[in-house]
Symmetry: C2
Subunit: 172 residues, 2 copies
DNA sequence: CAATTTAATCAGGGGACCTTATTATATTTT
DNA sequence: AAAATATAATAAGGTCCCCTGATTAAATTG
């Protein structure tokens, strides 16, 4: 079993990392002041954009399912995106209950832009440390996947899907 | 200069870590279903509780300053905490403009409970990996502190304070 | 055709924050 | 001391992220 003290140290650093990065993010938003555009790509409207950039023309229900959101939340975010002219809604002709959501050009550009950039703080690490970090995170992620899968297989599948989608863009 | 490919790998893993941990957290909340009790200790009401557990009897203004919140947000959170009987408000006799906030017993217990527990996923790491992770996070955190300090010295000071407060409990 | 399931919407609510007034209660200045 | 200014807290209203419950419209089933 691993040394408890070492675990505690690492945990402390992780907590610190969480706090510090949170603040750094806030500063980034507030400073850059991109106006209404300060959303994380993993939440709310950003989430929708990301999903659509990977599979355009989904119905609201499909979006909700993939993103583990309720139909109502999904509708809310979609409507906001429509107002911003980032997506469009149209009734499916095949099944008139369904509403198909599509990215506009602007929406696609926005989604792409959000998507990828290497955090600057990785610049302070050596090659060796980067490898170590990658290996460690791989282990940690595997363990978390496990935990999630045990607790809620549905979420696990959805999560796998969106991680894969996101990282596919990221790595090519 | 570090290898770009290695940076990208690490960045990808970090992004994945972010997504996965987010989901794991949600499951923890939803599953445990502690009712109204699903707040991060670094935001909103939780933030207030944490600050008070470190220095009870602050005025709202002092809280706002320490936590980089507006007086209005602070008031909102405090009022919600009052409703939940986690804190009390009373007028300062020395300066009747001020309102002093104090933790109730329940509040103190809640704050303490929130505060410390080693994330389970650290169990999958070896001693060596724990050391590596600690070293890496130390570097990353230092770099983020730097960035924050440059951008906003005030926030930097406040952040230092709350990190110190939080970690003091954590390490003893 | 009647009953049921499904996709969306409406209404309403909680939590995190913010901006723009106002209202008390000091503290200064004249 | 009276007037002017600064400070602590409120009130009101907004945005964003999410959810539950109730209702409507269209499709599927029996």
């Amino acid at each position: 079993m691993p040394n408890l003290m070492k675990q505690r140290n690492a945990a402390g650093k992780l907590i610190e990392f969480g706090m510090v990065r949170h603040t750094a993010d806030e500063i980034a938003h507030r400073t850059h002041a991109d106006k209404g555009d300060h959303q994380s790509p993993f939440q709310g409207q950003g989430k929708i954009l990301l999903a659509l950039s990977q599979a355009d023309g989904l119905s609201q229900k499909e979006l909700a399912t993939r993103l583990n959101l309720t139909a109502q939340s999904t509708a809310e975010f979609v409507n906001k995106l429509v107002k911003k002219r980032l997506v469009t809604k149209e009734k499916s002709t095949a099944d008139r209950r369904k509403t198909i959501i599509r990215l506009t050009d602007l929406g696609r550009r926005t989604a792409t832009k959000e998507s990828a950039k290497v955090p600057e703080f990785l610049n302070v690490l050596s090659d060796e440390e980067l490898d170590q970090l990658t290996a460690i995170l791989t282990k940690i992620n595997a363990s978390l996947y496990d935990e999630i899968n045990t607790a809620n297989p549905t979420w696990f599948k959805n999560l796998q899907g969106s991680v894969a989608d996101h990282l596919r863009d990221w790595f090519l």
